[in-house]
Amino acid sequence: MIEKPQDSDLKSKTDEELIRMVARGNEMAFEILMDRYERPLVTFCYGFMRDVQRAEDITQEAFLRVFRNAYRYKPMARFSTWVYRIATNLCINELKKQRLRQASSIDQSLSADPESTKVVEKIASDCATPLTQAEEKELQALLAKAVENLPEDQRSTLIMVEFNHMAYKEIADVLGITVSAVKMRIKRARENLRQMFKFLEDER
């Protein structure tokens, strides 16, 4: 039995309110949650997997688990923590299975290509000129590559901070590590990114 939406104002509801509705079989509430979390989750999973297709597969599985287990959701935890934890576990299991959990090495080639970094310099120099469409596209590819080149633990943590805008405590809860470890990962991730974008440090 799928409940039909009874409230046209579902979009204004919190995640926690929506998941309780999902627990009762409300499909519309589930769709809204998926709309909210699809991109963040795919990106989050990409942080682990470095493969868009796999990230999407895992996101799909995470959503299915959310639906199947909605009635088990405990209000004491934030919904976002719960769903990211599900995704984290799926990613880790997948990585274990594929034996891909090896330390990644930092690819320094990014900073070696002056042409590819112009667009980054433009943003970093507080230039008021908006990026052209081509520049924006170039930037997105460059940033994706930069993030991709980080070691897995730093990559996933940095994505949670900068892209998913999660608090250190929530990240620690999701990853099952301490807040200190989160701080350390972020510090190292930024140091590595600075190495990649070394030209940003030229002006001193």
């Binding site: 039995m1 309780r20 996101t59 959503f63 009635y71 993030v147 994505i159 892209f163 974008f197």
Partner: protein, 314 residues
């Protein structure tokens, strides 16, 4: 001080520490330089839009979910059906005596609890919903096997030996535990496996608090009256089964609004009334068919001779 810069720029520091970092930055060129670099880095990274999904994720999830629901019902219905049906065939006898059991949800004793008053004048409060919760039990004057909690796979595990828990003691039941409760001779005996890796059998007397980590653990009664006081949503931990095999599962919620539902089940009849909030009863017929019946606030429904519910509210 350097280790505080990242948390400072991420807005993670409490006000006092943040002010301290700000003061430091006014005088330390090295930290100011590092901060500037991180800010510039954050500005660049903040432009990243993340991975653009292909658009198939949501479609495929919805297709799978719809298929599952049409074949097997919602997950909660499946859970209830599986749990309740697994109890069928197990003998459940509520004999005389006085039972007074109080379950309290681990979320909030006051807000997320279900109250049960048995025909024998006891009171029970159970976690809402099914899932996890604590049990606070007081037992007195029972003369036989009165109450059992059924394990997640439907088996009842009788205690191989008895270990008495002191009043007020807390016991945790692990996620994989099987759990059974027998009330014998004025004491509740609880047995299970994987009980913190120790002996599976426990005895209980006086007041003892139990924590159900396994949502499938529940309490079955053959007859009696349940009064459910709930908020936060709930179903499943208390079930009534008539001699004919029909099972009644009162539920409340799932919203935060407090709900109160009373259910009275005897050998040949069941009545359900809701005095506040959102509540109702799930009926599982002997043939496995389920019917979820929300009850309007202020209304009482009662079974007719054909077994169907009718609203008897004036």
């Amino acid at each position: 001080m350097r280790e505080l810069i990242d948390p400072f720029l991420d807005g993670e520091l409490p006000e006092e520490e943040a002010a301290e970092v700000e003061r430091h930055l006014r005088t330390c060129n090295q930290c100011t330089y590092e901060s500037t670099q991180i800010i510039r880095m954050k500005e660049v990274i903040s432009r990243w839009q993340g991975i653009t999904p292909s658009g198939y994720v949501k479609q495929e999830v919805l297709a799978k979910v719809r298929s599952e629901v049409s074949k097997h019902g919602t997950p909660r219905e499946r859970y209830i059906r599986r749990t309740v049906l697994s109890a069928v065939g197990l003998s459940l006898v509520l004999i005389g005596g006085v039972v007074s059991i109080v379950y309290v949800s681990q979320w909030s004793r006051a807000a997320s609890s279900v109250g049960v008053a048995t025909e024998n004048s006891g009171t029970t409060t159970t976690p809402v919903p099914p899932s996890t919760g604590s049990v606070f039990a007081r037992v007195a004057g029972l003369t036989g096997d009165d109450v059992r909690v059924i394990g997640r796979d439907g088996d009842v595990y009788r205690p191989a030996d008895r270990h008495e828990i002191l009043p007020g003691e807390t016991v945790e039941v692990g996620e994989t535990s099987l759990l059974a409760v027998d009330v014998t001779g004025g004491r509740v005996l609880i047995g299970g496996i994987a009980w913190k890796g120790k002996a599976p059998s426990l005895g209980l007397s006086g007041s003892t608090r139990l924590r159900f980590a396994s949502p499938e653990a529940g309490l079955d009664l053959a007859r009696g009256t349940v009064r459910v006081l709930a908020s936060g949503g709930g179903v499943g931990d208390i079930r009534f089964r008539t001699p004919a095999g029909t099972i009644y599962v009162p539920w409340a919620g799932p919203g935060d609004e407090a709900a109160e539902v009373s259910i009275n089940v005897t050998a040949d009849k069941a009545a359900v009334g809701v005095s506040s909030g959102e509540a109702g009863v799930l009926v599982v017929r002997p043939d496995g068919n389920t019917q979820n019946i929300p009850v309007k606030k202020g209304h009482v429904i009662e079974t007719t001779s054909s077994g169907e519910f009718t609203d008897r509210t004036e």
